[in-house]
Symmetry: C2
Subunit: 463 residues, 2 copies
């Protein structure tokens, strides 16, 4: 114990009682361990400008209750055994993270997970240490508010190569997760601006626009992507779409629809937010360039993330602003400062520059392609014609329409009873939610568990 | 070059011209280096489903302009020398961070800087690597939205010991910088709620409340802190204060004022945001506990940061929510997810647990105390009675009222001409800004530069 207790003459609580409370709480919290010698009455009285009698009264009360022990000629010692929660071992705390508390061996088809067995730790570790050693001196200052230029340059380069995105590094804005960047975007636009939003669509992004005071208009989605007719009718000036892999339907927006959308945006001077949340994961067919790359009028804001292509816990996302939004963007970012630590950014830059990220991406693309094929195959052979698969050509999840007398909630509950976690599709709809459709992510599930999980679904649903 | 060019039949641009543009841009950007062999016409035509004539036409145009060279029996080769900006060397980019572009050897008395010479890199590096090795498996999943419990427990413990803050770890919320946390707080309160704000006060925090739709009411500040009379008159339900070291005045809020404030908050059911932005740096006198620690009615939201006590580029801040705001807080945080990477949090936890942070803090406190004493001494001996020092008892900056015929802007400009950067105080005022007061931060300036800088101020100001 290296701190002086606080006593406060302005409280209605007697000083001896405040002192009593202070020591008692510290012992309960494990901050003063059994056997610790307490400061002498004389010292404590001097430090706190209170009388020795007051200290004595507090100590005697504590001793009476068994918290303290007086040793003749030696002083007062803590005698309370063990804190109520032990600071050095957080796993034992009653307040621990519920996320990690789960001990059941559930097979979890969460659509936000990634494969946990293939992250190139030693390469990542090398980049981490290298940039700490090399750039130590730069870490004392807040970096560029938009992000480290080195990383922004590498991202611009990667996006051009792999997604056809055309931008200079100064259009790239780094942020601690896509929600943070969506929030920054909301500051760029006028409050209560109407934003057209895919229905169904990401419930999280929708909620983010809503809490940040945009007016969200649901726009229906068909087989080719977001519906032009609905856009023309509702006339938003801002639009949020997921053209590479519609969330949650999995549709890839057709090139025709893309061109119509861009034409509309140019004519209306509207902006399109293109969320390419898992654009790295296409398994077949000719690459379809991003909307941003097709756009000739600077109407597209492109968003991407390293959460799926690297690690969700890294919290690094980015967006590409059109040139005429840059000034406003920099102003907003200056207010918040950069939200990702310089060192994390430089580590990622190093990892990308060394080709490690591309290697990892290629490896994961292969792995996910195999998992996806297995999942499709197991679903077909196990669940047969009783389910319809949607959106399985790209990305890391698919939808299952289930032919069952159970409703969505029951389908999920029955699966859970068998130890399988699947997710509802209805939550992503604003209008006409489906009645028995579930979302299945496969990236974070092992091949063995994919087989086992689907078999359990068959049993759970009596198919 | 490992990507196939995109061609788009829906554009009005001829295909050969799109192809021409693609290669030209790639060479300008340095992505295709001089000497690189291009894919054969046959291969490219097949990949893009276009005719070989189209490819040939593009190649010949490029050759005519000197971008390509045809070698008989061998194929086409890039012949353009050097990209317009070189990706592997961002320092050479024309777009580089203006912050780091500065080459003049300015003496910068910025109030947000920290001492760059004493960070315990090897201990930090050890924590970094240790937690990467130990916790690799936990990094695949997004952690607790409020932050890693291990870090939150250590923060709660530290705040109790050093600032008298009373909270359980589940009240601690981690965020990527105080601005992010202020933004989260704004979501907790009703839009357009009136917030009383110290005048003068942090212009950044004020702007953050404003852009996040709170109504900011300036409340005057006297020698004891924020003025109760002004609060009672304007009746905000939310109040933002910096009691440990008023920003920018440097006043320490008196215990009387603290108790009045808490009584007011309890009676009005108002909330007080206590921003303890540099509370670790007190150099003398008895410790004054935080408002939060004195509060018996859960009306205080306490905020702190590691930007000053560790590294600004780390982007780790925290706030302590009263228990009855926790549910709403968790809801908001769930929407944004945790904004600091798990690994950064665990590294900091390790660093704290090993006592390294406390050691660093003690060392810095001593160092800053010495710098502060030197600064005060040099100001007194050099500038004498022509200046009045305010707020020099705590924290990392002070104010100078200058007796001069120059106004604030001129004082700063004259200093700059001598190679010394100081900062205006007027920008922090909403009412009655002072006319010739400047802000001087000393944490990031060496002792030698403190001496030199103040001497230069004397010359700059003709004192």
């Amino acid at each position: 114990m290296d701190s002086t207790p606080f006593v406060n003459r302005h409280l209605d609580i007697p000083l001896y009682q405040q002192l009593y409370q202070f020591f008692k709480e510290n012992m309960h919290a494990g901050r003063i361990q059994k056997g610790t010698k307490l400061p002498s009455k004389r010292l404590l009285a001097a430090q706190l400008s209170i009388s020795q009698t007051t200290v004595e009264r507090a100590f005697e009360q504590l001793a009476a209750e068994g918290y303290l022990l007086s040793k003749p000629r030696s002083g007062w010692f803590a005698d309370y055994d063990g804190g109520d929660f032990v600071h050095s071992e957080p796993a034992a705390s009653p307040l621990k993270n519920p996320h990690r508390q789960e001990t059941e061996p559930m097979i979890d088809f969460h659509f936000g997970h990634v494969d946990p067995a293939h992250f190139p730790f030693s390469a990542w570790r090398k980049s981490t240490v290298h940039r700490l050693d090399q750039d130590g001196h730069t870490l004392y200052r807040p970096g560029d508010v938009l992000g480290e230029l080195e990383l922004r340059t590498l991202i611009a380069d990667h996006l051009y190569q792999s997604r056809g995105v055309r931008c200079s590094p100064d259009q790239v804005v780094i942020g601690a997760g896509s929600p943070v960047l969506i929030h920054m975007l909301c500051h760029i636009f006028r409050p209560y601006a109407a934003i057209g939003f895919e229905d169904p669509g990401s419930s999280r992004s929708r909620a983010l626009f809503e809490v940040n005071h945009l007016q969200v208009l649901p726009i229906s989605v068909d087989d080719e992507g977001i519906c032009m007719q609905d856009i023309q009718q509702k006339q938003p000036r801002l639009l949020y779409v997921t053209p590479s892999h519609q969330f949650p339907l999995g549709t890839i927006m057709s090139i025709n629809r893309r061109m119509q959308l861009l034409k509309w945006a140019a004519a209306q001077e509207a902006f399109i937010i293109e969320d390419d949340y898992d654009g790295e994961f296409r398994y077949s067919g000719q690459p379809i360039p991003s909307l941003q790359g097709l756009d000739q009028h600077n109407r597209v804001i492109y968003m991407g993330t390293f959460s799926k292509s690297l690690l969700p816990s890294l919290r690094i996302s980015y967006m590409i602003l059109p040139p005429h939004l840059l000034e406003k963007g920099r102003e907003i970012m200056s207010l918040y400062k950069q939200t990702v630590s310089s060192h994390s950014q430089l580590t990622l830059a190093e990892f990308m520059r060394n080709g490690e990220w591309q290697k990892h991406l290629n490896r994961m693309r292969k792995l996910y392609k195999r998992k996806r094929a297995l999942l499709l195959e197991v679903i077909e052979s196990t669940l047969g014609t009783r389910v319809k698969i949607r959106g399985g050509n790209s990305g890391l999840h698919l939808l299952l329409d289930v032919d069952s007398s159970f409703n969505e909630e029951e389908l999920i509950e029955k699966a859970k009873e068998q130890g399988v976690k699947i997710y509802p599709a209805s939550v992503f709809y604003q209008n006409q939610p489906p009645e028995r459709t579930v979302l299945i992510g496969f990236a974070g599930v092992s091949e063995e568990h994919i087989r086992e999980g689907i078999k359990k679904l068959k049993a759970a649903w009596d198919l």
